[in-house]
C-alpha cells in the first residue's frame, strides 16, 4: 500500500484514471452484493417497523408511526430477552477470553504435540453450531445424557427444567464452539511478542505470572480487544443453540429468537421489524463503545469466521 502510494504521483494522469476505473470495476460486484442484503433490507425493516403489518391479515396494513416500538419496549418479554442475551454474551465472552488465553499459551509454549493441539482445537470451530447444540443437549438430557451419570452430579437433575440451568448449558455450548476462534486470534497476537523480552525479565528475576501480567497482557491488548469485540457482537446474535436446545422455553429466549418468532412464526412483520431494528441499534451501540470507549482500532482487526 505504502509503495504504490509513493509512486502514484509519478504516473501520468491517464494511467491513474484507468487504474481507478479498473479498481472500481473490480470492486463494484462485491460492493453491490454486500449492500443488497444489508443496507437495503435494514432500510426496508425501518419502513416495515412503522406499519401495522401482519401477513395473516394483509388488508389491515396501515402506517402507525412508532407504536410498534412502544409495544416492544413496554413488553416484559423484550426486556427478559435483552437480559438473557446480555447475560449469555458477558458470561460466555469472559470465560472464552480466559480459556482462549490458556489454550493460546498451551499452543504457543507447549514443548511437544503443538501441531496436534492446534488441529484438535480447530474441530469445534469447524463443527456446525446446530450440531454442537444437539451434542450438548443430548449430553445434558435428563433421561439419556451421560452428564447426570457423572459423579457429584445428582442423577435426577433436570437441566432444561429451570431458567438458569438451561442458560448454563446454552452458555457452555457457545463457549465450546467459539473458544478455538478466540484462542487462534490470541495466538496470532502472542507470536508477535519478542521472546527476548521474556529472557530479559527472567534474568531480572520476574516470575512466570509477573512476565505474563507485565509483558504478555499489555503487548497483547490490541489483539485481545479486537478478538473480544468480534466475539461480543457474535455472542449478542445468539440464536442457533437456543433454538435447538430450548426453543426459548424456561424464559431462555434471546432477542434474535424473539425477532424470529415475530417475523417467521407469527408473520407479524411490523412488530418483528421493530425488534430487528432495535437489535441493529444495540449492535451499533456495542461497536461504538468498543471503538470510541476502548480505542479498538478496527482497521487492524478482521471479520470473524
Amino acid at each position: 500500500m505504502e509503495a504504490s502510494a509513493q509512486k502514484a504521483p509519478v504516473k501520468v494522469s491517464s494511467r491513474t484514471r484507468s487504474e481507478r476505473k479498473l479498481a472500481w470495476m473490480l470492486c463494484a460486484p462485491a460492493v453491490i452484493a454486500m449492500l443488497a442484503v444489508t443496507a437495503y433490507p435494514i432500510g426496508y425493516a425501518v419502513v416495515l417497523s412503522l406499519q401495522k403489518i401482519d401477513l395473516r391479515f394483509p388488508e389491515q396494513t396501515e402506517f402507525i408511526g412508532l407504536a410498534n416500538y412502544g409495544t416492544v419496549l413496554s413488553s416484559e418479554l423484550w426486556w427478559m430477552d435483552v437480559f438473557n442475551t446480555l447475560l449469555i454474551m458477558v458470561v460466555s465472552v469472559s470465560i472464552e477470553l480466559v480459556l482462549g488465553m490458556a489454550i493460546a499459551l498451551v499452543m504457543h509454549r507447549a514443548i511437544f504435540a503443538r501441531g496436534a493441539v492446534r488441529t484438535v482445537v480447530l474441530i469445534p470451530y469447524g463443527i456446525i453450531t446446530v450440531v454442537a447444540a444437539f451434542a450438548w443437549q443430548f449430553a445434558f438430557a435428563s433421561d439419556s445424557g451421560f452428564v447426570n451419570n457423572l459423579p457429584l452430579i445428582p442423577d435426577e437433575m433436570n437441566w432444561f427444567g429451570g431458567h438458569l440451568s438451561s442458560l448454563a448449558v446454552i452458555i457452555m455450548a457457545e463457549i465450546w464452539k467459539t473458544t478455538p476462534f478466540m484462542a487462534l486470534l490470541l495466538l496470532a497476537g502472542l507470536v508477535t511478542i519478542d521472546g527476548g523480552l521474556y529472557e530479559a525479565a527472567k534474568v531480572d528475576g520476574a516470575s512466570a505470572w509477573q512476565r505474563f501480567v507485565r509483558i504478555t497482557l499489555p503487548l497483547m491488548k490490541p489483539a485481545i480487544l479486537v478478538a473480544v469485540l468480534f466475539r461480543t457482537l457474535e455472542a449478542f446474535r445468539v440464536f442457533d443453540s437456543i433454538f435447538i436446545m430450548t426453543r426459548g422455553a424456561q424464559n431462555t429466549e434471546s432477542v434474535s429468537i424473539l425477532g424470529f418468532n415475530q417475523l417467521i412464526n407469527r408473520l407479524n412483520l411490523g412488530l418483528g421489524s421493530a425488534v430487528s431494528v432495535l437489535i441493529f441499534l444495540f449492535v451499533v451501540v456495542i461497536a461504538f463503545i468498543f471503538v470510541k470507549g476502548l480505542g479498538v482500532k478496527v482497521e487492524e482487526g478482521r471479520p470473524g469466521g
Binding site: V37, A45, G126, A188
Partner: protein, 280 residues
Amino acid sequence: MRHGTREYSLWTIAIVLVVLFALIPVLWLISISLKPPSEIIDQRFIPASVSFDNYKSLFEGGIDGSPFLKPLINSIAIALITTVIAITLASFTAYAIARLEFPGKRAILAGALAIAMFPPISTVGPLFDMWRAIGIYDTYLGLIIPYLTFALPLAIYVLVAFFREIPWDLEQAAQVDGATPWQAFRKVILPLAAPGVFTAAILVFIFCWNDFVFSISLTSSDASRTVPAALAFFTGESTFTEPTGSIAAAAVVVTIPIIVFVLVFQRRIVSGLTAGAVKG
C-alpha cells in the same frame, strides 16, 4: 534447553485437558449414533453394543423418502456455489485494494467490516417479504444471496492479507514487458495467489455450511432446506420414537468431512483465520 520431569507432566496434563475439551462432545455424538435404539437412553458414554441402524435409516427411501439426503445435497450445492461466486468477487476486490490506488478504498474496507458486525436476524424479515414477492423464497438463490453478502467481508479480509504479501515486482515486470494491468493480474498474480484463495474458500465454505438463521427463515421445504435446518425438523421413525439416534448419525455424517478438512488443511485454516488479526 532441558525440561524437568515436572514440566513435562504439567504440559501433558494441559494438553490432555485441551484435547478432552475439544473432543468430548464429538465423541459423545459418535457414541449415541452407534447405540441401538433400545440403548439410547442408557446414559453410557461408551456404547454397550454397536449398531449402524441409525445411519441406515438416514438414507432409507432414497432422495424422496430420506429426510436427510436432499438437505445434504442442498447444503453441499449451496455452499459450493456461494464459495465460487464469493471467492471470485472477493478476489477482484482484494486485488484492487491490495494493489491499486483509488478513492473509496478505505470506505470499502470499513463497510466490509461493518457488515461482518451486522446482525443477520435484522435482515431476515425484509428478505422473507422480498423473496416471497419476487418468487425466490425457498430456492437456492434465496439462500445464496444472503450467504454471499455475509461471506464476502471474511473473504475480502483474508484475501487482502494474503495479496499484500505477494511479490508485486513480478507484476511490474510483466507490465514493463507490455502486459496490461488485467493481464498482469490474470497471468502473474492469480497463480501466486492460489494458496490464499484456497484458504479463503475453505473459510467461506465452512461459513455457509454452518448457517442456520437464513436457512430456517427463508426455506419451507426440502427443495432448498439445508442440513442444519433439516436437523431441527427431524422426527423419529414413528411419531412415538425420539429422533435422537438419527440426529446424532446425521450430525456425525456432516461433521466427518469438516474434521477431515481440518486435519488436512490445519495450517491454512489457522493462517486464514488469523490473517490480518495482527498488523503485519
